[in-house]
């Protein structure tokens, strides 16, 4: 009975097309949130999300809506829009029966929207197109509709036409959710079968499982177990739904979206994508779950203060809990000590994780240059996947190497096609296609090695197009590359944390740039420090940090020794935070400075 009045849905949209605003409006319309309490973009609960105007984490919310005299429970599961977070999207899709496809009336369907839309179709979701931003002077509803029908093959004739910003026609959207999205099919009387689609850690409640109940029901006292962590049984201590804050309720039944707490203290006991069942009356067949994600970008993350290794470990563990796509393993560096090698879905994902570690866990980090995963074929006939330059075998043992190539789609106004193509060419790109989408928008397609994309591509793209261009990419495969390991030497000592794998032709320019950056970032010391870039034994670039000559402060006014001591203490503190590379003291900023090189 209950299941019939439930609708589980998500929203698919390109960045900036108004997904979060629409979600806010739906909540406001259903009275979930009083208007005066509205904080713009409620579902984006992380500070980073609000600041950047993007959704990273999926966040569920339950709304009550009256339609033709009946009360419906609408569960909205927000989805991230960025390419890096495809994985998160597929997680929310698995918990839904339908999706709202939000399209900007002035911009039409974007590539990423398309990709997510296909994902939704693969998951057999009912898709309702919603045309947003109809209040804009540049809105062109008819071409937006036409584009939806052409590009996706969906009937857009009765698509709700809304302005989320102005609150126009929000009711149409809610009505469409009720009438067009199917009710969940689950059987309340069958054994419990529930999908874990997300988790959070709470210091008091332990792990909080975000779940979609497929069959059966769960309430306080139910003994639950998970399929993948066999054997362990937990007593449910609390169940509830999201309003969007967590609200306790008596039980969750088939079709419901909500949360479960069961005093689970160990983070690894819950795995996103796993199936929960009743330990006393288990289901035989688990849900399909998610496919494992493969990171595309890697980097080393080390605590700036070596003694904070365990704090970093805890923080990563907790982030991993609700971001299954984050991979990490312990790593050591001669220069940076103990830390982790982390794998990310993409550049934005990497940035977000670093930022969350620093903000939410108050950690100072040193990160190494991002790397991709290379296929290294050795002379002994082996194939190694190498994502860490320091793990690369000696050149003599390498037969050849392959690097990942992506199809990069760059959208920009026509006047920037020249600079964009020039940039792609500079980045070893192979031209594929150029399409004029309309008078204002061009899509330039190039195949580009991923290691060029992760190296400052996006920032350069933005600066060369005055911020007008946007970038999407997908991995195409591996191709043979002429790659070498570029090492940096400080006073003759190799600094492992600064090594990068680069295309041989680029190595000289890159070596020179890194050496220049390091020269500026390393403070003068009592001796002259040669900063060299090397491939194997061959030095390809050199800079010099001159010896320190003057740091004595001025007059000891009126015998104020205390002031002098304080200044000296400060200088000592600064030195303590530096890393030793042989005889050279290197500040954390130096390791980071090489990440920001302008081409």
């Amino acid at each position: 009975m209950t299941g019939k009045n439930i609708r589980n849905f998500c929203i698919i949209a390109h960045i900036d097309h108004g997904k979060s605003t629409l979600a806010d409006r739906l909540m406001e319309y259903t009275g979930q949130v009083a208007k005066r309490d509205m904080e713009a973009q409620l579902l984006d609960s992380m500070d980073i999300e609000r600041e950047r105007g993007i959704t990273i984490k999926l966040t569920p919310v339950t709304m009550k809506y009256e339609y033709e005299g009946k009360t419906y429970t609408l569960n909205l599961i927000d989805t991230p829009g960025h390419v890096d977070f495809n994985y998160e999207v597929s997680r929310s899709l698995a918990a839904c029966e339908g999706a709202l496809l939000v399209v900007d009336a002035s911009q039409g369907v974007e590539a990423q929207t398309l990709a997510n839309c296909y994902l939704a179709l693969e998951n057999d979701l009912e898709i309702i197109p919603v045309i947003n931003k109809i209040d804009l002077p540049s809105a062109d509803v008819e071409s937006a509709k036409a584009e939806i029908e052409e590009a996706i093959g969906l009937d857009a004739s009765d698509a709700p036409l809304v302005s989320a910003k102005e609150g126009i026609n929000i009711k149409d959207v809610l009505d469409a959710v009720v009438t067009r999205i199917p009710a969940p099919k689950g059987d309340e009387d069958a054994p419990l079968k529930a999908l874990i689609f997300d988790c959070q850690y709470d210091n008091y409640k332990g792990v909080i499982i975000f779940t979609r109940i497929v069959d059966g029901s769960v309430s306080v006292g139910t003994h639950i177990k998970m399929f993948e962590t066999k054997g362990k049984v937990f007593d449910v201590t609390e169940v509830g739904y999201f309003a969007p804050a967590m609200v306790k309720c008596d039980r969750l039944c088939a079709g419901d979206v909500g949360y479960i707490c069961a005093s689970i203290k160990t983070v690894s006991d819950t795995k996103v994508g796993d199936t929960i069942t009743d330990a006393d009356n288990p289901t035989q067949q688990p849900l399909k779950g998610y496919k494992e994600v493969k990171p595309m970008v890697y980097c080393g993350i080390f605590p700036a203060d070596g003694s904070k290794y365990n704090d970093l470990k805890d923080a990563l563990e907790k982030l991993k809990l609700n971001d299954a796509s984050l991979l990490y393993e312990p790593d050591t560096s001669v220069a940076l000590g103990f830390g982790f090698r982390c794998g990310f879905l993409g550049l934005l994902h990497m940035e977000i994780i670093q930022e969350r570690l620093e903000r939410e866990f108050d950690l100072d980090l040193v990160t190494t240059a991002p790397s991709v995963s290379y296929k290294v074929y050795t002379t002994s006939g082996e194939m190694l996947l190498i994502d860490n330059p320091t793990k690369l075998p000696p050149a003599t043992m390498i037969e050849h190497m392959e690097e990942p190539i992506v199809s990069a789609y760059i959208y920009c106004p026509p006047e920037y096609v020249g600079p964009v193509m020039e940039l792609c060419q500079d980045k070893r790109g192979t031209f594929i296609d150029i399409t004029y989408l309309d008078t204002k928008r061009v899509r330039v397609t190039y195949d580009i090695p991923l290691n060029e994309i992760i190296y400052n591509f996006f920032d350069t793209l933005k600066s060369r197009t005055r911020g007008y261009a946007s970038l999407d990419y997908e991995v195409k495969g591996y191709v043979k590359g002429n790659l070498v390991k570029l090492d940096m030497l400080l006073n003759g000592e190799m600094c492992d944390a600064l090594s990068v794998i680069v295309n041989e032709e680029r190595a000289y320019a890159r070596g020179r740039q890194i050496a220049e950056k390091l020269k500026d970032a390393i403070p003068r010391q009592m001796f002259e420090i040669p900063v060299q870039a090397a491939i194997g034994n061959k030095i390809i670039a050199r800079e010099t940090v001159k010896a320190l000559r003057k740091d004595v402060l001025a007059k000891c006014y009126g015998g104020d020794i205390t002031r002098k001591k304080k200044l000296l203490e400060k200088q000592k503190e600064g030195k303590k935070r530096m890393r030793q590379v042989g005889s050279v003291s290197v500040p954390s900023e130096a390791f980071m400075s090489i990440l920001k090189i302008d081409d």
Binding site: M526, K546, R549, K550, V552, Y557, T562
Partner: protein, 366 residues
């Protein structure tokens, strides 16, 4: 015999504040009567507390002590009479050319002052103007003329950095060494982030020298020129003719006791370092000491090294042992900066070519 002590008296008045100044001084010269009153109270307190300890040196600094009027100058010295100031006590007064009039000079002389320190900074009028000094080089020369007839121990302050070019600075150095001086203090200009000078430089109105290498070149040049003309370096920034080293400054570097009197003055007495309030209002209302730090043995050893290494002669190992009962080489790991230090039979000193990077060396040693 009682332990000797030095006295520093701060006079926080200036006719005009120099653009680089980060120190406590006010331009309300008319407020000096009240200040001298408060100063005399503080002096009375320390006079009792010292219980007749012999005074080794007195230094009246600022600010610009020479802006005090004669009455107030006399008042300060009358209060000093209560201390055990002997005939061989070094008594220095700081002043600027424009306020060291013949009348003031005689007044100082009559009150027993035997050492004069005049702020010159540069012989280039362009540089003087740029940093907000009120005098020209000519003014300084006239002042010096008046002073030499009364004093035989005169210091001039010059500054590295206020001259915008090496040649201008070289001219300053080569001119100063020819003057009838016994002592030269040569400090580097510090441009504090919030100072007026910073704004003027950033705004393009004023040009000074800030580059580390250029400053170091200037220092090396000055060091050499001073030495050739009989001014030997005895401390990083201080150069003196034979037997004319400043006793008062040496006392700081050798961790001797001293009383600091006046607003923002600092003192070191019986194992406690203290700093007076920097607020003139607070000082006038009778609140003096604002910060206190008890210097335990460990801290004292660090200070001894930190201050002693500023001296050309460095620190005496036997003196260190006598004070602390532990060999200096055991108390500190000097091997970590062996490349910058000279260790002889009884002395540890910074190598001559590393002197100007002392802070770096100290931050490794301490």
């Amino acid at each position: 015999m009682k332990e000797p002590v030095s006295i520093y008296i701060h006079i926080p008045f200036c006719r005009k504040k120099c653009y680089y100044c980060d120190f406590t001084s006010v331009c309300d010269i008319g407020g000096q009567d009240g200040y001298i009153g408060a100063l005399q109270k503080e002096m009375a307190f320390y006079r009792d507390r010292l219980e007749g300890r012999p005074v080794r040196s007195v230094f009246i600094g600022g600010g610009t002590p020479s802006v005090l009027d004669v009455g107030n100058i006399n008042a300060v010295f009358r209060s000093l009479d209560g201390f055990a100031v002997g005939a061989d006590c070094e008594i220095t007064v700081e002043g600027n050319p424009e306020s060291l009039t013949a009348e003031k000079l005689s007044c100082f002389k009559d009150n027993g002052v035997n050492r004069l320190s005049i702020g010159l900074q540069s012989v280039n009028d362009k540089s003087l103007k740029a940093i907000g000094r009120l005098h020209t080089y000519d003014d300084f020369l006239h002042c010096l003329d008046r002073a030499v007839s009364l004093f035989d121990n005169i210091n001039a302050d010059v500054m590295i950095g206020v001259d915008a070019s090496f040649d201008e600075f070289a001219h300053t150095v080569n001119t100063v060494v020819q003057l009838p001086l016994s002592h030269i203090s040569c400090y580097a200009l510090e441009v504090y982030p919030n100072s007026l000078l910073r704004q003027l430089i950033d705004g393009g109105t004023v040009t000074v020298t800030e580059d580390e290498d250029a400053l170091a070149d200037m220092y090396d040049y000055a060091l050499d020129a001073f030495r050739r003309n009989g001014f030997d370096r005895y401390e990083i920034s201080n150069f003196a003719k034979k037997d004319r080293q400043c006793i008062h400054n040496l006392n700081y570097w050798k961790c001797g006791d001293y009383v600091g009197l006046g607003v923002a003055a600092a003192g070191y007495l019986d194992g406690v370092r203290y700093t007076n309030t920097r607020s003139l209002d607070e000082y006038l209302s009778g609140i003096t000491v604002k910060e206190k730090q008890i210097i335990d043995k460990n801290e004292s050893m660090k200070e001894y090294l930190m201050l002693g290494l500023r001296l050309e002669e460095g620190v005496s190992l036997s003196e260190f042992y006598r004070r602390y009962g532990i060999p200096l080489t055991e108390a500190f790991d000097i091997s970590c900066r062996a490349d910058c230090l000279d260790l002889s039979d009884d002395r540890l000193a910074v190598r001559k070519d590393k002197f100007y990077a002392l802070n770096y060396i100290l931050s490794d040693l301490l």
